[in-house]
């Protein structure tokens, strides 16, 4: 067997063992032989304009495809630029393999170019972080990285490779590849726990199933359908679980939105929480009525009693737990409970439902969302990024697509700027689907230079800017807390973002009136180019998420 450039082992492993077809990053001298390996082994590279976008795209790739996403960062600033994306994946429990350059070991402590202790920086925001010191062990470290990223609760992992081991030739047989890719082993609950869970479900009169990202990450759509259709339990799928079953399913509660859910949830007598954390968005479990029984299903046993003790906990992968649980539950119909719940929920969002139907000047954000939905339809992928924008997009868009509506900034990191990278990854993962990103004008600024990436790589995503000329959620929160006359750093002004996109080679539209929305969207979609539809919306509108945000930081 011939010699191989050790840096090529990274791509060889990715292609031959894990079947990776695409990776995301930016070039750099420290990782040159890794990049050359991508060419050698025919792996598509999407080179972006800021490494945070690369990490976010790889994270999104794992969400949209179910396969572990991979990004590459060069040493030093490439690494530090990627940190936000890595932290976001960590808090979102998304499998992500980060391959990173490192200063030469030979020059350690000599003041080498881009010399820094990357491992200590990244450790708190990864499941696993390591440096490989031996070229022959690169495949072994790669396998470790993939196993760590996907085992149990998924998450990002970090592997740094110094030039000392990348830029040398070694005999190929000295670095053998594993015979098979990493695989996820499923964990199953005890039979006694399953029986207790089934007894709770069978006794419930007013049950509700809340499914989170764990539902999506375990690809549990088929098992979930069997469960809800047999048990009759209404459901709400959130985060990466959204779209595992269509929003239009008769037992889906998405037509009452988050607010309808929160104000009526108090009437449920059983909440089944699957693959979802009781974090601040669910008031750390405070939204679950004290008298209700609680069944939690999670792959992480630590999560079962977190913030609210469960009556029964089932530990395992959601799909396999549901496959075990469904035969034990009785065939039921809860149609009366569902119609009562929906009718009550809709009564609490009456104004919002009316605003969707009626033109307004200036344009109401929920009206903008309704017109996008009307134009693009349910067989599309929607990505929502912003503060108030996130709320309106998540409640207004309806999908039949897996992970078809994601509020990318609505995770625990609350990471604005994630929308465009997620939209790009969605389009690459599902090129036959229309992908629309709804961005706030504030969040648009973080990664809008990625329009250049979209143009270079022909990724025709339509980005609609809900432009209220402000960091809306912060502005409206400040109005409540310190007063509208003392707004600080929360206003942006009118900016022609679509012209910037035109300058980068994309398509631009500027919209100020209700009747202009649909024609502008149609032109943007027909252009076949990455497009920005910049829509001026009502700056006075506040979403219900804003007071929730405000209250969460109130200390007295």
């Amino acid at each position: 067997m011939a010699d191989i450039k050790a840096g090529h082992l990274v791509a060889k492993y990715l292609k031959e063992v894990e079947g990776v077809e695409i990776v995301f990053g930016i070039s750099g001298g420290h990782i040159e032989s890794i990049l050359d390996g991508f060419t050698e082994y025919g792996i598509r590279t999407i080179d972006v304009r800021h490494e945070q976008a690369a990490a976010m795209m790889a994270h999104a790739w794992s969400v949209y495809t179910g396969k572990t996403g991979v990004c590459f960062l060069t040493a030093g600033p490439g690494f530090t630029n990627g940190i936000t994306g890595i932290a976001n994946a960590y808090l979102d429990n998304a499998p992500l393999v980060v391959i990173c350059g490192k200063h030469p070991l030979r020059d350690d402590l000599k003041g080498a170019l881009q010399e820094m202790n990357q491992i200590d920086v990244v450790k708190p925001i990864t499941k696993w972080a390591a440096t490989c010191y031996d070229a022959k062990r690169i495949p072994e470290y790669m396998a470790l990285a993939f196993r760590q990223a996907t085992a149990g609760r998924p998450g990002p992992v970090f592997l740094e490779l110094p030039p000392d081991i990348l830029n040398i030739m070694i005999p190929e047989e000295s670095a053998p590849m594993p015979s098979r890719p990493s695989r996820r082993y499923t964990i199953h609950p005890d039979d006694a726990d399953l029986e207790q869970a089934a007894a709770l479900i069978n006794a419930a009169k007013k049950p509700l199933f809340l499914g989170g990202s764990g539902v999506g990450l375990s690809a549990s759509g088929d098992r979930l359908r069997e469960f809800v259709e047999k048990s009759g339990v209404p459901f709400m799928l959130l985060n990466y679980g959204r779209g595992e079953l269509p929003d239009s399913h008769p037992q889906s509660m998405w037509d009452i939105g988050n607010v309808g859910l929160l104000v009526t949830l108090g009437q449920a007598d059983l909440v089944i929480a699957a693959g979802i954390r009781f974090n601040w968005l669910l008031m750390s479990g405070g939204v679950i009525p004290p008298a209700a029984k609680l069944l939690r299903i999670d792959i992480d046993p630590q999560e079962v009693d977190r913030n609210r003790q469960a009556d029964v906990g089932l530990v395992g992968d959601i799909a396999s737990v549901l496959a075990q649980l469904t035969p034990l539950v009785e065939k039921r119909s809860h149609s009366e409970w569902i119609s009562t719940f929906k009718a009550a929920g809709k009564a609490f969002i009456d104004s919002e439902l009316k605003a969707r139907e009626n033109p307004s000047d200036p344009i109401h954000p929920i009206r903008l969302v309704a017109k996008i939905q009307e134009t693009v339809g349910e067989d599309a992928v929607y990505v929502v990024d912003g503060g108030d924008t996130s709320y309106f997009g998540q409640v207004g868009f309806v999908t039949r697509q897996k992970a078809g509506v994601i509020g990318t900034s609505s995770g625990l990191l609350g990471c604005l700027g994630t929308g465009i990278p997620f939209g790009m990854a969605a389009k690459l993962a599902r090129p036959d689907k229309t992908v629309v990103v709804l961005n706030g004008d504030g969040s648009f600024g973080f990664n809008s230079m990625e329009f250049d990436t979209m143009v270079r790589h022909n990724i025709p995503v339509v980005v609609v800017v809900n432009n209220d000329c402000a960091w809306g959620m912060i502005k409206h929160s400040q109005e409540m807390s310190i007063g509208g006359d003392r707004l600080s750093c929360s206003e942006l002004g009118t900016r022609r973002y679509e012209k910037m996109v035109e300058g980068l080679g994309g398509h631009g539209e500027f919209v100020t009136k209700d009747e202009e929305i649909v024609p502008a969207l149609k032109r943007a979609l027909a252009s076949g180019k990455p497009a920005c539809v910049n829509v001026m919306t009502d700056p006075t509108v506040t979403s219900p998420a804003t007071p929730l945000f405000y209250q969460s930081l109130k200390m007295q």
């Binding site: 607010v259 309808g260 929160l262 104000v263 009526t264 108090g266 009437q267 009562t340 719940f341 009718a343 009550a344 009564a347 609490f348 969002i349 009456d350 104004s351 109005e479 409540m480 807390s481 310190i482 007063g483 506040t542 219900p544 007071p547 929730l548 209250q551 109130k554 007295q556």
Partner: protein, 119 residues
Amino acid sequence: MKFSLLLFILFHKLKRAVKTNGAYRSYIGTVQLRILIRTADGKRGRLFVFDRGSLTSKRGGGFDADAALVWADAATAFKVMASGSDEESFLAAARGKLKVEGMAYYIQWFTDGVKLVMK
């Protein structure tokens, strides 16, 4: 009549709480909000105005507000509000006897404050 009286009593309980109940005073903080409780025909109701720690009120259902709790009729409003039952409110909403105009969160905030005072 009973509905209007109930709203009048509610206002005075909240007004007193603003002065004497530290937890409630802290709860309302510096919020500036106008909450209206009214009947659908607008003939009866009361506006509650929270303005940076103060609370004032006006009788009537014809005011602009940030959020409004709208009852189909005064009799239902009195029955459900006097019961203090979340379940009764839920069922009234499901039967079309109650709806929220404006942001439901503000109404939730208002009713959580009322619960704080009444407990």
